[in-house]
Protein backbone atom coordinates (compact mmCIF):
# COMPACT_ATOMS: atom_id res chain seq x y z
CA UNK A 1 0.00 0.00 0.00
CA UNK A 2 1.83 3.05 -1.17
CA UNK A 3 0.24 6.36 -0.62
CA UNK A 4 2.09 8.96 -2.62
CA UNK A 5 -0.72 11.42 -2.04
CA UNK A 6 -0.08 11.66 1.67
CA UNK A 7 1.47 15.02 2.22
CA UNK A 8 5.02 15.33 3.48
CA UNK A 9 6.67 18.68 3.83
CA UNK A 10 5.17 21.56 1.90
CA UNK A 11 2.61 19.36 0.25
CA UNK A 12 5.22 17.35 -1.61
CA UNK A 13 4.34 13.81 -2.48
CA UNK A 14 6.66 10.94 -1.68
CA UNK A 15 6.95 10.46 -5.41
CA UNK A 16 8.26 14.03 -5.80
CA UNK A 17 10.81 13.41 -3.10
CA UNK A 18 11.95 10.10 -4.55
CA UNK A 19 12.43 11.67 -7.97
CA UNK A 20 15.24 13.74 -6.49
CA UNK A 21 17.07 10.55 -5.65
CA UNK A 22 18.12 8.69 -2.55
CA UNK A 23 21.43 8.30 -0.73
CA UNK A 24 21.49 4.67 -1.88
CA UNK A 25 19.19 2.71 -4.17
CA UNK A 26 16.18 0.88 -2.79
CA UNK A 27 16.08 -1.52 -5.64
CA UNK A 28 19.46 -2.55 -6.97
CA UNK A 29 19.64 -5.14 -9.72
CA UNK A 30 22.95 -6.93 -10.04
CA UNK A 31 23.64 -9.15 -12.99
CA UNK A 32 26.36 -11.58 -12.00
CA UNK A 33 27.31 -13.06 -15.35
CA UNK A 34 26.51 -12.84 -19.01
CA UNK A 35 26.83 -16.61 -19.23
CA UNK A 36 23.55 -18.42 -19.78
CA UNK A 37 22.52 -21.87 -20.86
CA UNK A 38 19.39 -20.41 -22.45
CA UNK A 39 19.05 -17.88 -25.26
CA UNK A 40 15.69 -16.24 -24.63
CA UNK A 41 14.56 -14.13 -27.57
CA UNK A 42 13.73 -11.15 -25.32
CA UNK A 43 16.85 -11.23 -23.10
CA UNK A 44 17.38 -7.69 -21.81
CA UNK A 45 21.13 -8.15 -21.54
CA UNK A 46 21.70 -10.19 -24.72
CA UNK A 47 23.28 -12.84 -22.52
CA UNK A 48 24.83 -16.10 -23.57
CA UNK A 49 28.61 -16.03 -23.23
CA UNK A 50 30.55 -15.13 -20.12
CA UNK A 51 32.52 -11.89 -20.46
CA UNK A 52 36.22 -12.46 -19.66
CA UNK A 53 36.23 -9.15 -17.80
CA UNK A 54 33.50 -10.12 -15.29
CA UNK A 55 34.04 -9.15 -11.65
CA UNK A 56 36.29 -11.57 -9.80
CA UNK A 57 35.21 -13.28 -6.60
CA UNK A 58 37.27 -10.77 -4.59
CA UNK A 59 35.62 -7.86 -6.39
CA UNK A 60 32.17 -9.34 -5.88
CA UNK A 61 32.77 -9.78 -2.16
CA UNK A 62 34.10 -6.23 -1.90
CA UNK A 63 31.03 -4.90 -3.68
CA UNK A 64 28.79 -6.68 -1.18
CA UNK A 65 30.73 -4.96 1.61
CA UNK A 66 30.03 -1.64 -0.12
CA UNK A 67 26.31 -2.43 -0.26
CA UNK A 68 26.31 -3.27 3.44
CA UNK A 69 28.04 0.01 4.27
CA UNK A 70 25.43 1.90 2.24
CA UNK A 71 22.59 -0.02 3.93
CA UNK A 72 21.35 -1.42 0.67
CA UNK A 73 18.77 -3.68 2.28
CA UNK A 74 18.66 -6.24 -0.49
CA UNK A 75 19.84 -6.85 -4.03
CA UNK A 76 18.02 -8.40 -6.96
CA UNK A 77 20.44 -10.80 -8.57
CA UNK A 78 20.13 -11.91 -12.17
CA UNK A 79 22.19 -12.46 -15.27
CA UNK A 80 22.62 -14.35 -17.57
CA UNK A 81 22.01 -17.34 -15.36
CA UNK A 82 23.52 -16.27 -12.02
CA UNK A 83 23.77 -19.79 -10.62
CA UNK A 84 26.34 -20.62 -13.32
CA UNK A 85 28.95 -18.63 -11.38
CA UNK A 86 31.06 -21.11 -9.40
CA UNK A 87 31.13 -18.71 -6.42
CA UNK A 88 27.35 -18.19 -6.45
CA UNK A 89 26.62 -19.75 -3.06
CA UNK A 90 29.66 -18.10 -1.46
CA UNK A 91 28.53 -14.65 -2.45
CA UNK A 92 24.95 -15.27 -1.35
CA UNK A 93 26.27 -16.43 2.01
CA UNK A 94 28.45 -13.35 2.29
CA UNK A 95 25.60 -11.00 1.36
CA UNK A 96 23.02 -12.44 3.71
CA UNK A 97 25.47 -12.61 6.59
CA UNK A 98 26.34 -8.93 5.93
CA UNK A 99 22.71 -7.82 6.17
CA UNK A 100 22.21 -7.60 2.42
CA UNK A 101 19.23 -9.73 1.50
CA UNK A 102 19.23 -11.57 -1.80
CA UNK A 103 16.48 -12.08 -4.31
CA UNK A 104 17.66 -13.90 -7.35
CA UNK A 105 16.16 -14.78 -10.70
CA UNK A 106 16.99 -18.08 -12.32
CA UNK A 107 15.81 -20.30 -15.13
CA UNK A 108 15.95 -23.17 -12.66
CA UNK A 109 18.47 -25.29 -14.55
CA UNK A 110 20.84 -25.43 -11.57
CA UNK A 111 18.22 -26.24 -8.95
CA UNK A 112 18.22 -29.98 -8.49
CA UNK A 113 17.04 -31.77 -5.34
CA UNK A 114 20.29 -31.11 -3.48
CA UNK A 115 20.46 -27.48 -4.62
CA UNK A 116 16.87 -26.91 -3.50
CA UNK A 117 17.68 -28.27 -0.03
CA UNK A 118 20.71 -26.01 0.20
CA UNK A 119 18.64 -22.98 -0.82
CA UNK A 120 15.85 -23.90 1.60
CA UNK A 121 18.35 -23.88 4.45
CA UNK A 122 19.52 -20.31 3.71
CA UNK A 123 18.21 -17.34 5.60
CA UNK A 124 16.85 -14.40 3.73
CA UNK A 125 17.04 -15.60 0.17
CA UNK A 126 14.19 -15.16 -2.29
CA UNK A 127 14.01 -17.04 -5.56
CA UNK A 128 12.25 -16.11 -8.75
CA UNK A 129 11.88 -18.83 -11.35
CA UNK A 130 11.34 -17.38 -14.80
CA UNK A 131 8.82 -18.79 -17.24
CA UNK A 132 7.16 -16.99 -20.11
CA UNK A 133 4.33 -19.34 -20.88
CA UNK A 134 1.94 -21.39 -18.78
CA UNK A 135 2.68 -24.41 -20.97
CA UNK A 136 5.76 -25.75 -22.72
CA UNK A 137 4.71 -24.67 -26.22
CA UNK A 138 4.16 -21.02 -25.29
CA UNK A 139 7.15 -20.84 -22.95
CA UNK A 140 9.66 -22.69 -25.09
CA UNK A 141 8.92 -20.51 -28.12
CA UNK A 142 10.53 -17.64 -26.19
CA UNK A 143 12.94 -19.37 -23.81
CA UNK A 144 14.03 -22.39 -25.84
CA UNK A 145 13.14 -26.03 -26.09
CA UNK A 146 12.91 -27.88 -22.80
CA UNK A 147 13.06 -24.72 -20.69
CA UNK A 148 9.52 -25.10 -19.33
CA UNK A 149 10.22 -28.63 -18.13
CA UNK A 150 13.46 -27.40 -16.54
CA UNK A 151 11.71 -24.56 -14.72
CA UNK A 152 8.87 -26.68 -13.41
CA UNK A 153 11.33 -29.37 -12.29
CA UNK A 154 13.10 -26.69 -10.24
CA UNK A 155 9.76 -25.63 -8.75
CA UNK A 156 9.06 -29.25 -7.83
CA UNK A 157 12.44 -29.50 -6.12
CA UNK A 158 11.90 -26.27 -4.18
CA UNK A 159 8.44 -27.39 -3.09
CA UNK A 160 9.78 -30.77 -2.03
CA UNK A 161 12.63 -29.17 -0.09
CA UNK A 162 10.16 -26.96 1.77
CA UNK A 163 11.68 -23.73 0.48
CA UNK A 164 8.44 -21.87 1.10
CA UNK A 165 6.80 -19.34 -1.16
CA UNK A 166 9.15 -18.74 -4.07
CA UNK A 167 8.11 -16.49 -6.94
CA UNK A 168 7.15 -17.35 -10.48
CA UNK A 169 8.26 -14.52 -12.73
CA UNK A 170 6.66 -13.94 -16.11
CA UNK A 171 7.30 -11.33 -18.79
CA UNK A 172 3.94 -10.44 -20.31
CA UNK A 173 3.67 -11.07 -24.04
CA UNK A 174 1.03 -11.15 -26.74
CA UNK A 175 1.24 -14.95 -26.61
CA UNK A 176 0.90 -15.43 -22.84
CA UNK A 177 -1.60 -12.77 -21.78
CA UNK A 178 -4.41 -15.23 -22.66
CA UNK A 179 -2.84 -17.48 -19.99
CA UNK A 180 -3.11 -15.08 -17.04
CA UNK A 181 -5.50 -17.35 -15.17
CA UNK A 182 -3.33 -20.36 -15.93
CA UNK A 183 -0.28 -18.60 -14.44
CA UNK A 184 -2.30 -17.85 -11.34
CA UNK A 185 -3.36 -21.49 -11.08
CA UNK A 186 0.23 -22.65 -11.50
CA UNK A 187 1.42 -20.30 -8.75
CA UNK A 188 -1.41 -21.46 -6.48
CA UNK A 189 -0.49 -25.07 -7.09
CA UNK A 190 3.02 -24.42 -5.76
CA UNK A 191 1.98 -21.96 -3.06
CA UNK A 192 4.13 -19.50 -5.01
CA UNK A 193 3.74 -15.79 -5.57
CA UNK A 194 3.12 -14.61 -9.10
CA UNK A 195 5.22 -11.79 -10.48
CA UNK A 196 4.36 -10.27 -13.85
CA UNK A 197 6.59 -7.73 -15.55
CA UNK A 198 6.59 -5.72 -18.69
CA UNK A 199 8.35 -6.77 -21.89
CA UNK A 200 11.00 -4.21 -22.85
CA UNK A 201 12.52 -3.80 -26.29
CA UNK A 202 16.02 -3.98 -24.76
CA UNK A 203 18.86 -6.35 -25.62
CA UNK A 204 17.61 -9.12 -27.91
CA UNK A 205 14.15 -7.86 -27.02
CA UNK A 206 14.76 -5.02 -29.47
CA UNK A 207 14.46 -7.54 -32.29
CA UNK A 208 11.58 -9.62 -30.91
CA UNK A 209 9.52 -6.83 -29.36
CA UNK A 210 7.35 -6.20 -32.41
CA UNK A 211 6.21 -9.83 -32.41
CA UNK A 212 5.89 -10.21 -28.65
CA UNK A 213 4.54 -7.01 -27.15
CA UNK A 214 0.89 -7.07 -26.04
CA UNK A 215 -1.79 -5.71 -28.34
CA UNK A 216 -3.76 -2.68 -27.13
CA UNK A 217 -6.81 -4.74 -26.15
CA UNK A 218 -4.52 -7.08 -24.21
CA UNK A 219 -3.14 -4.14 -22.25
CA UNK A 220 -6.71 -3.38 -21.14
CA UNK A 221 -7.21 -7.03 -20.19
CA UNK A 222 -3.96 -7.03 -18.20
CA UNK A 223 -4.79 -3.78 -16.41
CA UNK A 224 -8.22 -5.04 -15.37
CA UNK A 225 -6.78 -8.37 -14.27
CA UNK A 226 -4.11 -6.68 -12.14
CA UNK A 227 -6.54 -4.17 -10.61
CA UNK A 228 -8.53 -7.13 -9.28
CA UNK A 229 -5.37 -8.76 -7.92
CA UNK A 230 -3.33 -6.23 -5.96
CA UNK A 231 -1.37 -9.14 -4.43
CA UNK A 232 0.19 -10.03 -7.78
CA UNK A 233 3.69 -8.55 -7.90
CA UNK A 234 4.68 -6.37 -10.84
CA UNK A 235 7.92 -4.61 -9.90
CA UNK A 236 5.85 -1.47 -10.48
CA UNK A 237 6.50 -2.07 -14.15
CA UNK A 238 3.05 -1.37 -15.60
CA UNK A 239 2.50 2.22 -14.53
CA UNK A 240 2.02 3.20 -18.19
CA UNK A 241 -1.30 1.30 -17.96
CA UNK A 242 -2.62 3.60 -15.23
CA UNK A 243 -4.10 5.86 -17.89
CA UNK A 244 -6.61 3.08 -18.63
CA UNK A 245 -8.77 3.63 -15.57
CA UNK A 246 -9.62 5.68 -12.55
CA UNK A 247 -7.54 3.50 -10.29
CA UNK A 248 -3.74 3.27 -10.29
CA UNK A 249 -2.05 -0.10 -10.03
CA UNK A 250 -0.29 -0.57 -6.68
CA UNK A 251 3.09 1.14 -6.63
CA UNK A 252 4.60 4.59 -6.69
CA UNK A 253 3.86 5.31 -10.33
CA UNK A 254 7.21 6.70 -11.33
CA UNK A 255 10.27 5.82 -13.34
CA UNK A 256 12.90 5.05 -10.72
CA UNK A 257 15.85 4.96 -13.12
CA UNK A 258 18.90 6.49 -11.42
CA UNK A 259 16.67 7.81 -8.64
CA UNK A 260 15.78 4.76 -6.56
CA UNK A 261 16.81 2.00 -8.99
CA UNK A 262 19.97 1.03 -10.85
CA UNK A 263 21.67 -1.92 -12.45
CA UNK A 264 25.21 -3.25 -12.06
CA UNK A 265 26.25 -5.49 -14.93
CA UNK A 266 28.66 -8.45 -14.75
CA UNK A 267 31.73 -6.33 -15.57
CA UNK A 268 30.80 -3.75 -12.92
CA UNK A 269 29.30 -1.09 -15.16
CA UNK A 270 26.44 0.82 -13.53
CA UNK A 271 23.35 1.63 -15.59
CA UNK A 272 20.27 3.67 -14.74
CA UNK A 273 17.89 0.70 -14.68
CA UNK A 274 17.77 -2.99 -15.60
CA UNK A 275 16.29 -2.21 -19.00
CA UNK A 276 18.84 0.24 -20.38
CA UNK A 277 22.06 -1.69 -20.86
CA UNK A 278 23.39 0.82 -23.35
CA UNK A 279 26.28 3.29 -23.29
CA UNK A 280 23.82 6.21 -23.25
CA UNK A 281 22.65 5.14 -19.79
CA UNK A 282 25.96 4.02 -18.34
CA UNK A 283 26.76 6.07 -15.26
CA UNK A 284 30.20 4.64 -14.46
CA UNK A 285 31.82 1.53 -13.08
CA UNK A 286 32.15 0.06 -9.62
CA UNK A 287 35.84 -0.30 -10.55
CA UNK A 288 36.18 3.51 -10.72
CA UNK A 289 37.76 5.32 -7.75
CA UNK A 290 35.12 5.74 -5.07
CA UNK A 291 33.39 2.52 -6.05
CA UNK A 292 29.67 2.13 -6.35
CA UNK A 293 28.76 4.93 -3.93
CA UNK A 294 30.59 7.54 -6.01
CA UNK A 295 28.77 6.46 -9.16
CA UNK A 296 25.39 6.43 -7.44
CA UNK A 297 25.80 9.79 -5.76
CA UNK A 298 27.85 11.83 -8.18
CA UNK A 299 27.60 10.53 -11.73
CA UNK A 300 26.53 13.14 -14.21
CA UNK A 301 23.91 10.83 -15.70
CA UNK A 302 22.21 10.06 -12.41
CA UNK A 303 22.29 13.71 -11.38
CA UNK A 304 20.54 14.64 -14.61
CA UNK A 305 17.90 11.93 -14.13
CA UNK A 306 17.14 13.40 -10.71
CA UNK A 307 16.42 16.81 -12.21
CA UNK A 308 12.81 17.63 -13.06
CA UNK A 309 12.03 15.90 -16.37
CA UNK A 310 10.16 17.56 -19.19
CA UNK A 311 6.86 15.97 -20.24
CA UNK A 312 7.63 17.16 -23.77
CA UNK A 313 5.06 16.05 -26.31
CA UNK A 314 3.03 14.47 -23.50
CA UNK A 315 2.60 17.74 -21.59
CA UNK A 316 -0.70 18.55 -23.28
CA UNK A 317 -2.16 15.07 -22.65
CA UNK A 318 -4.61 14.85 -19.76
CA UNK A 319 -3.31 11.40 -18.86
CA UNK A 320 0.28 12.40 -18.10
CA UNK A 321 -0.20 12.38 -14.34
CA UNK A 322 -1.48 8.82 -14.58
CA UNK A 323 1.15 7.31 -16.88
CA UNK A 324 4.12 9.66 -16.35
CA UNK A 325 4.96 9.29 -20.02
CA UNK A 326 5.74 5.62 -19.56
CA UNK A 327 9.08 3.83 -19.73
CA UNK A 328 12.33 5.52 -20.71
CA UNK A 329 13.85 2.26 -21.93
CA UNK A 330 10.86 1.37 -24.08
CA UNK A 331 11.08 4.75 -25.78
CA UNK A 332 14.84 4.72 -26.20
CA UNK A 333 15.14 1.30 -27.80
CA UNK A 334 12.27 1.88 -30.21
CA UNK A 335 13.89 5.11 -31.40
CA UNK A 336 11.35 7.43 -29.75
CA UNK A 337 12.27 10.67 -27.99
CA UNK A 338 12.47 10.32 -24.22
CA UNK A 339 10.14 13.26 -23.65
CA UNK A 340 7.32 11.82 -25.75
CA UNK A 341 4.84 8.98 -25.54
CA UNK A 342 5.69 5.41 -24.62
CA UNK A 343 5.54 3.08 -27.64
CA UNK A 344 2.71 1.26 -25.85
CA UNK A 345 0.89 4.45 -24.82
CA UNK A 346 -2.65 3.34 -23.99
CA UNK A 347 -4.08 6.40 -25.69
CA UNK A 348 -2.53 5.28 -28.96
CA UNK A 349 0.00 8.10 -29.22
CA UNK A 350 2.85 5.56 -29.31
CA UNK A 351 1.76 3.95 -32.56
CA UNK A 352 1.69 7.28 -34.34
CA UNK A 353 5.09 8.16 -32.92
CA UNK A 354 6.55 4.78 -33.94
CA UNK A 355 5.30 5.28 -37.48
CA UNK A 356 7.39 8.43 -37.62
CA UNK A 357 10.65 6.78 -36.53
CA UNK A 358 13.02 6.86 -39.49
CA UNK A 359 14.55 3.62 -40.70
CA UNK A 360 17.85 3.15 -38.90
CA UNK A 361 16.92 5.60 -36.14
CA UNK A 362 16.75 2.91 -33.48
CA UNK A 363 19.91 2.84 -31.35
CA UNK A 364 22.51 0.21 -32.15
CA UNK A 365 23.29 -2.12 -29.24
CA UNK A 366 26.54 -1.26 -27.50
CA UNK A 367 27.13 -4.68 -25.99
CA UNK A 368 26.10 -8.17 -26.94
CA UNK A 369 27.03 -11.48 -25.34
CA UNK A 370 24.72 -13.65 -27.42
CA UNK A 371 26.01 -17.01 -28.46
CA UNK A 372 26.93 -17.22 -32.14
CA UNK A 373 23.89 -19.30 -33.06
CA UNK A 374 20.92 -17.28 -34.29
CA UNK A 375 18.14 -16.64 -31.82
CA UNK A 376 14.65 -16.34 -33.21
CA UNK A 377 11.17 -16.36 -31.84
CA UNK A 378 9.46 -19.57 -32.93
CA UNK A 379 6.07 -18.21 -33.90
CA UNK A 380 4.91 -21.56 -35.26
CA UNK A 381 5.88 -24.18 -32.72
CA UNK A 382 7.18 -27.39 -34.15
CA UNK A 383 4.88 -30.37 -33.75
Amino acid sequence: MTSPTASGRKGETLSDELKRGLDAPICLTWELTYACNLACVHCLSSSGRRDPNELSTAEVMDLIDQFAALQVFYVNIGGGEPMIRPDFYDLIDHATSSGVGVKFSTNGSRIDAAGARRLAAMDYTDIQISIDGADAVTNDAVRGEGSFATATAAMDHLAEAGFGPFKISVVMTRQNIPQLDAFEALADRYGAELRLTRLRPAGRGADSWHELHPRPEQQVELYNWLIERPHVLTGDSFFHLNALGEQNLPGLNLCGAGRVVCLIDPVGDVYACPFVLHDEFKAGSVRDPGGFAAVWRASELFRSLREPQSAGACASCGQFDACQGGCMAAKFFTGLPLDGPDPECVSGHGEAALAGVAVGARPEPTSNHSKPSPVAFISKPRR
Partner: protein, 114 residues
Protein backbone atom coordinates in the same frame (compact mmCIF):
# COMPACT_ATOMS: atom_id res chain seq x y z
CA UNK B 1 13.89 -5.67 -11.82
CA UNK B 2 11.69 -2.80 -10.92
CA UNK B 3 10.80 0.64 -12.11
CA UNK B 4 10.42 2.26 -8.77
CA UNK B 5 10.02 1.21 -5.23
CA UNK B 6 8.82 -2.27 -5.03
CA UNK B 7 9.75 -4.22 -1.98
CA UNK B 8 7.47 -6.89 -3.31
CA UNK B 9 6.11 -8.55 -0.26
CA UNK B 10 2.38 -8.98 -0.86
CA UNK B 11 1.53 -5.78 0.93
CA UNK B 12 4.20 -3.65 -0.71
CA UNK B 13 5.69 -0.52 0.70
CA UNK B 14 3.98 1.78 3.13
CA UNK B 15 4.44 5.41 3.79
CA UNK B 16 4.32 7.03 7.17
CA UNK B 17 3.77 10.69 7.54
CA UNK B 18 2.82 12.81 10.45
CA UNK B 19 0.23 14.86 8.61
CA UNK B 20 -2.87 15.68 10.59
CA UNK B 21 -6.16 13.88 10.16
CA UNK B 22 -9.24 13.68 12.38
CA UNK B 23 -8.81 10.27 14.00
CA UNK B 24 -6.45 9.76 16.90
CA UNK B 25 -5.00 6.85 18.80
CA UNK B 26 -3.90 8.22 22.13
CA UNK B 27 -3.89 4.79 23.79
CA UNK B 28 -0.44 4.20 22.40
CA UNK B 29 0.99 7.01 24.54
CA UNK B 30 1.12 4.80 27.62
CA UNK B 31 2.82 1.89 25.88
CA UNK B 32 6.50 1.07 26.03
CA UNK B 33 7.73 0.46 22.49
CA UNK B 34 11.02 0.07 20.75
CA UNK B 35 12.29 -0.48 17.23
CA UNK B 36 12.10 -4.16 16.30
CA UNK B 37 15.64 -5.60 16.41
CA UNK B 38 15.37 -6.79 12.81
CA UNK B 39 14.51 -3.32 11.49
CA UNK B 40 17.19 -1.18 9.88
CA UNK B 41 16.69 2.58 9.52
CA UNK B 42 18.54 4.34 6.72
CA UNK B 43 18.58 8.16 6.77
CA UNK B 44 17.35 9.81 3.58
CA UNK B 45 16.73 13.43 2.58
CA UNK B 46 12.99 13.09 3.28
CA UNK B 47 13.41 11.32 6.62
CA UNK B 48 14.38 7.67 6.50
CA UNK B 49 13.74 4.32 4.98
CA UNK B 50 12.99 1.54 7.40
CA UNK B 51 13.38 -2.06 6.36
CA UNK B 52 12.25 -5.11 8.30
CA UNK B 53 14.47 -8.10 7.60
CA UNK B 54 11.90 -10.41 9.14
CA UNK B 55 8.78 -9.61 7.16
CA UNK B 56 10.72 -7.92 4.36
CA UNK B 57 8.58 -4.83 4.33
CA UNK B 58 9.75 -1.35 3.59
CA UNK B 59 8.47 1.79 5.25
CA UNK B 60 9.00 5.41 4.41
CA UNK B 61 9.40 7.58 7.49
CA UNK B 62 8.61 10.94 6.02
CA UNK B 63 9.57 13.28 8.80
CA UNK B 64 12.96 13.77 10.42
CA UNK B 65 11.21 14.17 13.80
CA UNK B 66 9.50 10.81 13.36
CA UNK B 67 12.89 9.25 12.60
CA UNK B 68 14.39 10.74 15.76
CA UNK B 69 11.45 9.56 17.81
CA UNK B 70 11.47 6.02 16.42
CA UNK B 71 15.19 5.65 17.07
CA UNK B 72 14.81 6.97 20.62
CA UNK B 73 11.65 5.12 21.71
CA UNK B 74 13.50 2.26 23.36
CA UNK B 75 15.21 4.63 25.80
CA UNK B 76 11.96 5.71 27.44
CA UNK B 77 9.38 4.01 29.68
CA UNK B 78 6.44 5.20 27.57
CA UNK B 79 5.75 6.67 24.16
CA UNK B 80 4.62 9.84 25.90
CA UNK B 81 7.95 10.16 27.68
CA UNK B 82 9.74 9.71 24.37
CA UNK B 83 7.61 12.43 22.75
CA UNK B 84 8.51 14.78 25.58
CA UNK B 85 12.20 13.88 25.44
CA UNK B 86 12.24 14.44 21.68
CA UNK B 87 10.57 17.83 22.21
CA UNK B 88 7.63 17.03 19.94
CA UNK B 89 4.94 19.66 20.48
CA UNK B 90 1.80 18.14 22.08
CA UNK B 91 -0.31 19.47 19.19
CA UNK B 92 1.53 17.00 16.96
CA UNK B 93 1.11 13.99 19.27
CA UNK B 94 -2.05 12.67 17.60
CA UNK B 95 -0.33 12.49 14.23
CA UNK B 96 2.76 10.87 15.72
CA UNK B 97 0.60 8.42 17.66
CA UNK B 98 -1.08 7.31 14.47
CA UNK B 99 2.24 6.86 12.69
CA UNK B 100 3.58 4.80 15.60
CA UNK B 101 0.42 2.70 15.79
CA UNK B 102 0.76 1.90 12.12
CA UNK B 103 4.44 1.00 12.54
CA UNK B 104 3.56 -1.20 15.49
CA UNK B 105 0.82 -2.91 13.49
CA UNK B 106 3.32 -3.87 10.78
CA UNK B 107 5.78 -5.14 13.40
CA UNK B 108 8.34 -2.37 12.91
CA UNK B 109 7.91 -1.50 16.59
CA UNK B 110 7.58 -4.05 19.33
CA UNK B 111 6.23 -3.82 22.84
CA UNK B 112 8.79 -3.99 25.61
CA UNK B 113 7.47 -6.27 28.32
CA UNK B 114 7.83 -4.76 31.80
Amino acid sequence: MACAVSTEPPTGAQTHTTSSSPTSSSAILARRLRLHPRVAVRPEPFGALAYHYGNRRLNFLRSPDLVRLVNDLGNHPTVEAALVACEIAPSRWPAFSRALASLAASDFLETVEP
